[in-house]
Symmetry: C3
Subunit: 346 residues, 3 copies
Amino acid sequence: MFLKNTWYVACTPDEIDGKPLGRQVCGEKIVFFRGPDGKVAATEDFCPHRGAPLSLGFMREGRLVCGYHGLEMGTDGKCAGMPGQRVGGFPGLRTFPVIERYGFIWVWTGEAELADPAKLHPLEWAESSDWAYGGGLYHINCDYRLMIDNLMDLTHETYVHASSIGQTEIEESAPSTKIEGESVVTSRFMENVMPPPFWASALRGNNLDGDVPCDRWQICRFTPPSHVLIEVGVAHAGKGGYHADPAHKVSSIVVDFITPETETSIWYFWGMARNFRPQDEALTAMIREGQGKIFGEDLEMLEAQQRNLLANPTRRILKLNIDAGGVKSREMIDRLLEQEKRPEAA
Amino acid sequence: MFLKNTWYVACTPDEIDGKPLGRQVCGEKIVFFRGPDGKVAATEDFCPHRGAPLSLGFMREGRLVCGYHGLEMGTDGKCAGMPGQRVGGFPGLRTFPVIERYGFIWVWTGEAELADPAKLHPLEWAESSDWAYGGGLYHINCDYRLMIDNLMDLTHETYVHASSIGQTEIEESAPSTKIEGESVVTSRFMENVMPPPFWASALRGNNLDGDVPCDRWQICRFTPPSHVLIEVGVAHAGKGGYHADPAHKVSSIVVDFITPETETSIWYFWGMARNFRPQDEALTAMIREGQGKIFGEDLEMLEAQQRNLLANPTRRILKLNIDAGGVKSREMIDRLLEQEKRPEAA
Amino acid sequence: MFLKNTWYVACTPDEIDGKPLGRQVCGEKIVFFRGPDGKVAATEDFCPHRGAPLSLGFMREGRLVCGYHGLEMGTDGKCAGMPGQRVGGFPGLRTFPVIERYGFIWVWTGEAELADPAKLHPLEWAESSDWAYGGGLYHINCDYRLMIDNLMDLTHETYVHASSIGQTEIEESAPSTKIEGESVVTSRFMENVMPPPFWASALRGNNLDGDVPCDRWQICRFTPPSHVLIEVGVAHAGKGGYHADPAHKVSSIVVDFITPETETSIWYFWGMARNFRPQDEALTAMIREGQGKIFGEDLEMLEAQQRNLLANPTRRILKLNIDAGGVKSREMIDRLLEQEKRPEAA
């Protein structure tokens, strides 16, 4: 069960650079490509001629050409031509609203007439030259909500990411969860702790001492349908923590866009936005590589958890205080799902 | 749905050279082997003793010996012996009529009493020393009819085989389709076109200039159950095309025997028969290698098309003029399927 | 259908050396680990917190720590702690009776209150310094009863293991099968035969001539649920065969513990116990390597047989005299299964 009348990240611009991309989103097999004006388009990935996936084709002058017999698909889902054929009466394809913004292609798999660019989640950092962003994409065989749970309870860092960002002080510091409008916010603050390897390295990357006690924070913010943006950082101890002067801290935003592929698989767009040394591309690459390794550690656990849950469908699991972020996020999703089902009641 | 009372290619002689071969044809798991007289036999691939596949066994004096406990199976499907056992009362296996001819082993998976060697499709070139043949075998996960469609509409060459036999003139030349008795024939003629790389090479292989305008032809002939033989060739332009003197042309027959394995998978026996330089084995090998690469390009497309069709079972696809060959072939198959179901009505 | 109120081999001690092991036995997903006292424990492999497999975790001071969020599981299936949590009310896990003995960990997946260490199959050789043991583990996709059949009818050695322990004299010697209490015993004796390669090598390994006629014996003993212990050996011909003086023979016990994983897959613990040169570890390693190769030859046949039987569910297979060992073993299993279903009738 996933929300459909909402924007999900479908892909990044480099994935449709000069070629179409086939990707399943919310159960819909979709082909993404750029039209003649360079604008992104999305249609069903099914050639009306013989049913071949259009994504196996190629781009020619802004038209998507089927790689089997040459049917040309326009961005409006209508056949734009085919050698030796009159295509006027050809059946069209469903198109999906898409937006390119913030360095991502976003798709709306619900009712097209409800698609509203204003409903796109704002990402100020993505349009500011004070910030740099680097990230990647993982395919994971799990329900998208298991990944939300994962990100809204960073206790797991101590175990899953013990060698990089985990430290026992995380689980010793109780998180607090609250609702802020359409967001769920779970915060955790640790005072006077030694920074774990990833943060020690980040401090040094920002020309700060990495071997001294710090105050550390994690502010996880869920917004529907399945975005989790996490403010993370460390400041030298006693300098004000989260509110410390930039001269004493290093901080960033962990970016997690979780796009359901099927009920039990996701496209996981992860990354990090930072506002220190934003022009330093080598630093961006180094952070991305480090983050990629760390976030790859979640895969095995999430897929094993998913298999275990599927094998035990009637079994209840716990909702502890540390799980409040995930629990509240799921409640918000459930409420919105209900609204989608009965819009008149909303 | 496939025809059963008909001959399909099961394998080539080298596949049963001194050993049994297990292969599923039309849903039947069959073991093929040579009896004591060298004649091919086919029985169910199931040892009556403990159910092991007989195809994992070995040949001993014309008997197929089960590799598990040594039961010996005769060509008549009756147990011919087993160490220390009286085998008279052992249950027998179903046998399948088989014929070895034209360089292939043919099998009849329908009612044995209807099997008639006279119904085998004649292949004159296969018994003439003026002709040479080379070919291969691919396993493809698609309905056999998708491969018939593919071969009866060569428009796809322009897209799927762009670097070898494709050229835009193909799709610019409308094909014509007609019924000739028990055959469907789709023909396409192109005049005064430059030969694409495969044909330029073939011309040179026949000591003809490969860089001059040519007339090109493709005459696709479907015969039930699922054979497609295609006369293809090029002649130097203005020399009479298809009817040109052999001194001015190079031609051959593309041979396609499509054997259903299951409803959605096939054994695809492809090859080329030619009547120029038939003794030149190096040329045969070169052509086979080139054809193997080209025909391998269809695999990904056909399997992706099959997956797309299975995922969209209610969706209609188009039947354009270029699809007439496949459409008429399917109509002929459907008519014969109906006859098989109700033989008394025929 | 497998017996549940019985002991199966779950694993060997090295598999839980300092770490937990997840293994499915009789359909139950179980995690095996050592408690603080070093004693083996077994619980469901499902963390009560969020459903992650506990077997992905690690050991800390005799507690199994979940690798996702740190829940600590005790050997009693009760949560022993979790950072920042009061765990008193946490739901517990089912535990499974386990015994470590004879070099194996044994598990009881049936009713715990019926678990009785006295019901463990005695293995005198495993506790005697006059004997040495070496073995291994294979995972095979077949019903456990197909492996019992395999081991109770060694006729297959002539075919499956032709290059090592097979010889035609096996199938020429009729076996005899009898019931001895709770055992099925199938015996085969061959007189004055040349030893096949494995036994020739074993004779030489015991400082005996390996190229002279021998008497050979195989005494297969099935005991429920699925143990097959086979006395095998050769003696120089005319020295008394099975009863010959140790100076003239070489003998050992083939050990087969077959643990059902699912209805159609097993964990197959194979090995060999011998009472000659028991201190010679190089010999143990050499025998294990040889046996491993030979026993690996059964895998392909058993998995192919299983697939063939599943594809032909209504088909009957034969029960010849050579199959009597397997047939009687299955009858014993069926009788015990009936008793498990209706204990009051027993």
